[in-house]
Symmetry: C5
């Protein structure tokens, strides 16, 4: 499904969360994971106030909300956890560009999660992440995401994820999203490379369409990844007590990774431009062939048609017409003219 | 409204303020805001000398003059506040390129303020800012600007604006102007991206016009933003006691921001170039199709028209004409020729 | 043989080595070289467990396995030497991109070895290298490689290779592979330069095909060398006790070398693009010539054919037809028209 | 007037000043300004030996020679002031590229002064500057230059020019020349921008000529400014006691300025290239329209002309000819064919 | 004469000097210059062993060998002075790319010397330089080189050349070669600039050929200068006791110089590309004019020829044919049609 941007809704009353976007899911689904080095608990939240019980007991609480069309719970959460109304509004608006707001006591990140959905179609879904001292909210448009490996690592105490705090978890989530960019761009790149080989060995009329389809896909990638890159590079520039120096290092790595992804996109972009040139040259070459054919036919037949026309005139006195073999002489002449034209083209190596 | 540059008027007598430009407003309107950390006053100035009362009492005085076609008050202000006649002249000339003159006791900045006016049309209006120790003058072509949020912050003592001095206010004004560049460029960029999708999926003959309109708009942006970028980068290079070290930092940020805006423009520029290539390839492709059609018709009909011509000759002795079914034999022959031509094109996959 | 990428097989059960790729060899062939400064032994291994005897006695053991279609021995080796199942899987998959996994106790590198095989055809073969403390495994798709000079140096105690440890050997192997890239790219480059001279002096219709063939070859190079460059640049970024500081220096040199190779490729790429433009201009020029010819013929014959047509009409009263020399007057007129057309083109320097 | 380069004369006997170039002025005119912080004198020199009187009395002497076609005085000056014969030769040769020879006891600079002369035409005139301890010679092709503001500053003791020594004066002269480059390039740039708007909104056949004229002008700029840039950058690289550390700073600024001028030229160059592409696309588009028209006419008339041809044959037995309304049936058929062709093009949206 | 690369001969038995290349000279000519600060001797060597006499007496000996087709003396020299057989082989192979082998006790450089020979034709000749402690060998393909100014300086004790050792001499020789590159590239550049002006003001059909000839020449330059640049940049990277720190500085300068030469080449390359685009646009424009002419003629004559055809049909009953002035009415109609077509084109401003 193609992602739809609802720019015009931007003029809504600010600070009041209104769901903006195409409804992707009907019911809201909230899951909570609370953990520290020792303990781990995973529950489905029915009443929003229940979250408070976990934030009191655990150092790290991750609340994932699937479905943001129903703004009431979002509003409730925001009120309960003292989240700024403007941010609440942003969460409910799925037409935002990726961005990061980094402050001393919270980090709010909007990012597009890209993945291959049903029938291998490219999906982009907006994920909003709100991180404060001991709670991380993630808001998604619908169930299903790319975070399962991280959930697994949390459950199994695999890697250093449980020992670290929530900003590390946030890093992991962003890293997973960017890794998916990388994967998708690589698959895209292989299509482009394959197309290149096809264009070079056998260009036909589907090629232009294929190039254009690839270009549209590339634009879709760039539209999603370019703001994401800026959102992530923000972590490098701003300092906040929520991110330790050691974690800063991870965000820098992430920044480099998304930079490489973007570089790869640029590379594929220039490949597509080049392909267009190759195709264009091929079209020119074929035009030449077409014109040669037309010219050969015209140049051969135009003079002889003229000759026939001459003897079709009704002048009273045309000496040739009286000749007994006039008709055959005309044919002889016509054939001579036609052959000499053909010889001329032969000599010019037109065929 | 398109901005008009009056280069030729440059040769006027220097040092005498003459209004150069299209008249945008009839009456001059002067507002004054005087403030310090504690106090705030906002008045409309009728007599220019009144300004002096506020500069005596307040640390920070911002005088905004809307309407510069009437040069008398400008001259009066300049005389009263000891502003150099050449600067007075610059203020009255709306055809200047953006620039910054930074000196030890004043900073004079000319910059284009861009915004969307009525009917969503792009406007550029020249704003001149003259900053000295405790007074900041801003001269605008007409009422209405993008500074209202800053006025609000001054009134409400919101943020650090009241606690800071006038160079910070000047930074805020420039920042607002640049932020508007950013916004407008982003809207422009979305148009360009949309156009790209349209070109790739369905190019038609309006496309060339759309590309060209976008290019004109882009040039308009670049013409206004490029000098503005230089004007702002000047703050980085020159040192003046009017700007504290801490504020210098803000101007550096501003410099980066306008740099990013310009970079985005460059990006859209290369997108438009690319679009032109795509369109050009499409035109080539269609030319090919047209020529194919012409060639098929010509190549099929030229030989058979020739045959008909032959039997239209008036030779006395043409054996075929005497045959009873000569006419039908000719038709048979003509159809055979035409079909073989069509088969030839079929084999070549021309249709 | 062109290398085939089996992307779809990526979804196989992870961690279980399955041979993915086209079978290149039927029997597995394992050779072992064990050496230190003093001693050197070279044997063919029949039973995998025999390797252990050498690792116990020698500081440096290089085991080369030719043929990876039979996954059983690979599995056995991996189990015996405690190699992670995911790496075992990678070894058996010949469709990987080049890469380096660098850890504290092992370095695993996948790289494409390129060489000219039979009939001067370009080959790419995947080589996987697994290095731990005192053993280096190299897995190749089939017998025959570019490492013979290194084997010779090991046997003859030539250079510093015997005095150094296995990471130096690994560097030498990679260096040889990259040197071969260099050689092949240079040969390719000479073809491109030769083609350029041919295009510039005498462009004909085989040129487009030659350019395209070169482009395909270039893409093949880039596909193999680009990931290799990343794999090698990894050695610069990551630190591991397996590589001494002095050896790090060699890897940096190698990194520079492959960078230069890639740069040369980019250079040839832009040469090919330029060649396409030259060819395209030539095609345009020829189209012009064709159209001139067609136009001359058409413009000369169209009016005179029309004149003949006029006198072929059957009106009852056409005064000219009654003239005694009407026919000759018509001829005179026709010739005058034709000549004036030709003069017109002559004046325009069309021929 | 276009500047003429006389490359072939380079092979003259070296070391002997011969005037090479087009004669621009008949009489030589020498003016001298001698000054120090306190004193200032300005005289016209008739006898070259008179210069010595001033060099004895004043710390700074600037001798300006207008007219270099008469080599005798140049030779005399060079002999008198111990200037190397090769430099004397360079002074007399107006076909040199800009350059700087920097030595311990002299600085010799050749630079092109550009300005708008009569009828707004671009002029380039060679200025040679020879600086030693207390004398600066400037040789110009003819009277009239861009140095008047500097003369004014010298006379009026305005700015720091009188307090500084001759290398500062030299800097001022070069700065004025480069400032003029800047001005001219900006005027040129405005023409280019204006042309761009014209191309985008209404391209017609004068455009190609305008683009080409701009390109020629651009080349003229680049030819003069590129070597000037190198000549000025030389001051950065070489050290000489003639330039103090503080002045070095000015030369660095000058270097930056000319760098920016050159950058602007590059920018306009790429704009012109882009304009060519736009124009080219437009030409392609129009070709398409032309071909459409030709094709519509051909495709409509070719079949119906064929039909008429058929009934112009002289077969003895053509059944249709005998029909009473045969002629009108033919017309009906012809109209049907023509209309169906037109409908076909209508459906294809060709008109 | 165009330089011929003999790549295939590379597979000769290594280490045995065989002359590879086109014979340029029949007799070998050896000259020797021996010098130190005080003494200088210049002799022609007949017997190779004589060289030893000078190496014993002088600190610096420069042996120049003209003619390398006769491998016997080369072999003898190499044996006598302990030069590695592989280097001897390289000396005799004139098909090498420029390169530098820098070791602790020798420096071997192969470089192409370019100069204008007879009839202003571009020549490239291979020069091999072998430098050890107190002897420098230079091997040239034939007599005549660009080193005469250096010989003069050696003879006349001009400059610091005699006071320095052989690595300085080698630097001087390389510098002279690179200076000649510079000169030739500048002459080439002037041709390119001149061509540009010609293309812009009056493009005709010789232009394409001229561009292509320039491109071939450019490629010839790049082929020779690119490897030379690498050979010279090697001096920067490698350290050898043969080059003092102070001399290292000279080699760095040389490196910069050749870098600038290469940069200039790149500049001319992009100028040529641009010229091709200009020419291509011009060709397109002319095609447009041609097609306009063809279309005007076709569109005017096709309908009227059809009309004539109609009245050439032999239907028994064609009312118009019976009219007394039918023929003149037809003419009237034909003229009306033709004129309206012409008016249509006039309105479209086609002529």
């Amino acid at each position: 499904m193609r992602f739809v941007v609802h720019q015009k809704n931007k003029s809504e009353i600010p600070g009041k969360p209104i769901f903006i976007g195409t409804k992707k899911q009907d019911t809201i689904h909230i899951t909570l994971m609370a953990y520290d080095d020792e303990r781990f608990v995973e529950v489905t939240i029915e009443t929003i106030e229940d979250i408070l019980k976990y934030t009191e007991q655990y150092k790290n609480v991750w609340v994932n909300i699937d479905g943001i069309h129903d703004v009431a719970p979002i509003k409730k959460i925001c009120t309960l956890f003292n989240i700024h109304p403007l941010i609440a509004e942003d969460i409910a608006n799925t037409g935002l560009r990726s961005k990061s707001d980094i402050d001393d006591d919270f980090i709010f990140t909007v990012i597009k999660m890209m993945f291959l959905g049903k029938y291998q179609r490219l999906h982009a879904e907006q994920v909003s992440m709100y991180l404060t001292k001991n709670i991380l909210f993630t808001f998604q448009e619908q169930r299903g995401d790319v975070f399962d490996p991280i959930r697994e690592r949390l459950r199994n105490k695999k890697g250093r994820i449980r020992a670290n705090n929530l900003s590390y978890l946030k890093y992991c989530l962003l890293d997973t999203i960017v890794d998916n960019y990388h994967l998708l761009v690589e698959i895209f790149g292989e299509n482009v490379e394959e197309l290149e080989d096809r264009i070079l060995s056998n260009p036909n009329k589907d090629i232009l369409e294929s190039i254009n389809k690839n270009k549209i896909e590339l634009n879709y990638f760039k539209k999603n990844i370019r703001p994401a890159r800026e959102a992530i590079s923000n972590f490098k520039n701003y300092k906040t007590p929520l991110i330790t120096k050691r974690e800063q290092h991870f965000f820098n790595d992430l920044n480099e990774l998304i930079g490489r992804v973007y570089e790869a996109l640029e590379n594929y972009k220039s490949m597509l431009s080049e392909q267009l040139t190759v195709y264009s040259t091929h079209v020119n070459y074929k035009l030449n062939e077409i014109m040669k054919l037309l010219t050969i036919f015209s140049v051969v037949f135009i003079p002889i048609t003229f000759i026939a026309g001459i003897y079709g005139t009704n002048f009273e006195f045309i000496p040739e017409l009286k000749l007994k073999y006039g008709y055959f002489i005309m044919w002889g002449f016509i054939i001579a003219v036609a052959l000499s034209m053909l010889l001329f083209f032969r000599k010019k190596k037109w065929f």
